[in-house]
């Protein structure tokens, strides 16, 4: 997190336009439980940021603090340079909550009208209904709406004050694939206007496809921060695993494309970008046997980065690569400059496996993961790709 401190000491403060969100050494504990631990995060106007992490990572607590729903135990939160409550009162920030927050005995149109009356100046209710794609169900009672329709209603309500910052807390939780796609289509149309959007998710796919910056959280801390492709790169490459007594670490490191080498007794793990070269070397120049090549997909990257034990430094996180990424991603001026590489994902159906550069294990992971809730999916995945992900995790921890 040194990048943040440096920036802050520099030109960051007191500039003409304050950051959309500024979290400074923010800590929140509920009793003995530390939900958020010393988070520093600055989000510039126009960024589309994903908070990615498993349940209990502190995503919702962080969002609650940005909204002024929860006071930090320590540290400061500023939204456009003001206190969160003030920003809310002025309609600068609004949110789409995960669930609840609707009255069953109002109609969709009435709910929007009710919310509109709460602000001094709003977009016309008919317009937000249109933008959220729920004009056709305006007369329906909220209690009779599907989960996806209710979520689009929440989105419409959030659009009313025409906020500069929109927060979405796991907005597609419990939606079917079609619901998620149309929900994100609405959000994406909106993001094009330059609104700052921060969303929490534990769907990697969403973070990858819709965010131009991914903030990975684990156990109340930020473990990586960069573009989706940078976060992916943290765990890219492949791991070659083999049994090789008396392995020579130097020789392995000398092979081109090798990042890390780990020797555990007779087992070796070589993390590399050119697994063919490593395999060829091992099989032709050494007595290696039981050779396995594992690719790290996004799921594994996610697991690797989010499931390491707290306290242990992560390769990508505090030091090394991610910090570079952080600085780079922050100095970017064009908010959605790297959305392009993902346009293929967006176009594609959510359940279709990737056919491009991703390895096979990734396909399996994906097609299994999509229709279900993330949690089941992740626990399903672990045993299957266990070796790969475990190896990846270790590598990353170095």
């Amino acid at each position: 997190m040194t990048g943040v401190a440096d920036r802050r000491g520099g030109a960051g403060r007191g500039a003409a336009s304050p950051p959309a969100v500024d979290l400074m050494d923010v800590t929140k504990h509920f009793g003995a439980v530390e939900a958020v631990r010393g988070v520093n995060l600055r989000i510039e106007p126009g960024e589309v940021v994903a908070f990615l992490g498993p349940n209990g990572a502190g995503k919702t607590t962080t969002i609650d603090m940005v909204l002024g729903l929860t006071e930090p135990s320590a540290g400061d939160v500023e939204v456009y340079g003001s206190e969160p409550r003030d920003a809310v009162r002025k309609g600068l920030v609004s949110a789409v909550m995960q669930s609840g927050g609707l009255l069953k005995d109002l109609t969709v149109a009435e709910t929007v009208a009710y919310t509109a009356h709460l602000f001094t100046d709003t977009r016309p209710p008919a317009e937000v209904l249109e933008r959220a794609g729920i004009t056709s169900i305006a007369g329906r009672l909220v209690g009779k709406c599907s989960g996806g329709e209710q979520q689009r209603l929440r989105f419409a309500m959030a659009l009313l004050p025409d906020p500069d910052l929109l927060l979405l807390d796991e907005p597609t939780q419990g939606m079917d694939v079609e619901g998620r796609r149309s929900f994100w289509a609405a959000i994406r149309r909106d993001a094009q206007a330059g609104r700052t959007i921060v969303f929490a998710t534990h769907y990697l796919e969403e973070a990858d496809a819709y965010a131009d910056r991914v903030v990975l959280m684990r156990k109340g801390e930020i473990v990586a921060d960069g573009t989706a492709s940078e976060v992916k790169a943290l765990a890219s490459g492949r791991t070659v695993r083999a049994s090789l007594p008396d392995a020579c670490e130097e020789a392995l490191r000398a092979i081109s494309g090798v990042d890390r080498v780990e020797i555990r007794g007779e087992s070796i793990l070589v993390h590399c970008t050119d697994s063919d070269a490593v395999a060829r070397y091992l099989l032709t120049q050494t007595r290696a046997r039981d050779l396995e090549i594992t690719a790290l997909g996004l799921e594994e990257a996610f697991l690797a980065l989010t499931s390491a034990e707290p306290g242990q430094p992560l390769a990508g996180a505090g030091t090394g690569r991610a910090t570079d990424h952080q600085t780079r991603s922050r100095s970017r001026t064009e908010p959605r400059s790297d959305i392009e590489p993902y346009s293929d994902h967006q176009a594609r159906s959510d359940i279709e496996p990737r056919s491009d550069h991703q390895a096979r294990s990734d396909h399996q992971a994906r097609s299994h993961i999509e229709p279900r809730s993330d949690h089941q999916a992740r626990s399903d995945i672990e045993p299957r790709s266990g070796d790969g992900s475990r190896a990846g995790r270790r590598d990353l921890r170095r």
Partner: protein
């Protein structure tokens, strides 16, 4: 890339006046209440039925009481019953809204907590007025209740305003019991209070210990006070004391729970 970020000048934006209280919001809340058939039946239909059942009995209805008759006396009691049911259910709406996460949703709008309470109070009063008007209309249509015209207005207005005491009660219970069952609790409590206050059976028919106990219940003071213009006679300051004491208790309770609730902000 294409369009510049739509950043507004934060100073341009103002918070709404009156903490966000608006008549239009009360109108939407009333519409919500009217959609709840159970609320309508219990607060409007039941008091009218009670009046028709007990207030027209030829055995005693025309007997004189103060400046009117027994039928008028019972009409006032039933209107009070309807009004307090209406205001307490209005207050208790906070319970359902907290459960639904609506209160939390409202916290990410400029609406101030005090304005939210004011909206709930105003909504309760509208429903309370409907309950009073329904019973009084039944009274007019049946021609049984008799009292001077100004007493119709005076008693009606007094019990309507007085029923605000139970909006505080509803809020207190609503914040205390975060469940959909809060209406059952309130319905039962108000039934007890109504007996204790002498709304259903004259307190003179209670045994002595029960009668003494009844004078400490929350509807006793209010009930005696709203009947006073009709009944006349000696004014008893314990009625006012009872009313003020319960007002303090309910308001303090509601404020306490309300503060606890908003402290989570």
């Amino acid at each position: 890339m294409s369009t510049p970020p739509a950043v507004h000048d934060p100073a341009r934006r103002a918070s709404p006046p009156l903490g966000g209280f608006k008549v239009a919001l009360v109108r939407l809340e009333v519409r919500r209440l009217l959609r709840n058939r159970r609320t309508i039946v219990f607060t409007i239909v039941v008091p009218v039925l009670f009046f028709l059942l007990f207030g027209l009995n030829s055995a005693y209805a025309s007997r004189a009481v103060g400046r009117g008759n027994v039928s008028a006396f019972i009409m006032i009691s039933m209107a009070l019953y309807g009004a307090v049911l209406a205001t307490s259910s209005g207050g208790a709406m906070v319970s359902v809204e907290r459960l639904a996460g609506w209160s939390r949703q409202l916290r990410i709008t400029p609406l101030q907590p005090a304005a939210y309470i004011a909206i709930k109070m105003a909504t309760s009063l509208v429903l309370g007025l409907a309950a009073v008007l329904a019973v009084y209309t039944a009274g007019i249509l049946t021609h049984k209740p008799s009292m001077p015209a100004e007493l119709w207005v005076a008693t009606g207005a007094a019990l309507w305003i007085g029923s605000l005491l139970f909006a505080a009660f509803g809020l207190f219970v609503g914040y205390l019991l975060p469940s959909e069952n809060v209406m059952q609790v309130i319905g039962f409590a108000l039934m007890l209070f109504s007996f204790g206050g002498g709304l259903f059976i004259p307190l003179s028919q209670f045994s002595h210990p029960l009668r003494v106990l009844a004078t400490y219940t929350p509807l006793y003071g209010l009930n005696e006070l709203v009947h006073y213009p009709l009944v006349q006679g000696a004014f008893d300051w314990t009625w006012t004391a009872n009313l003020v004491a319960w007002l303090v208790i309910f308001t303090a309770g509601a404020t306490w729970r309300f503060r606890k609730d908003t402290a989570r902000i």
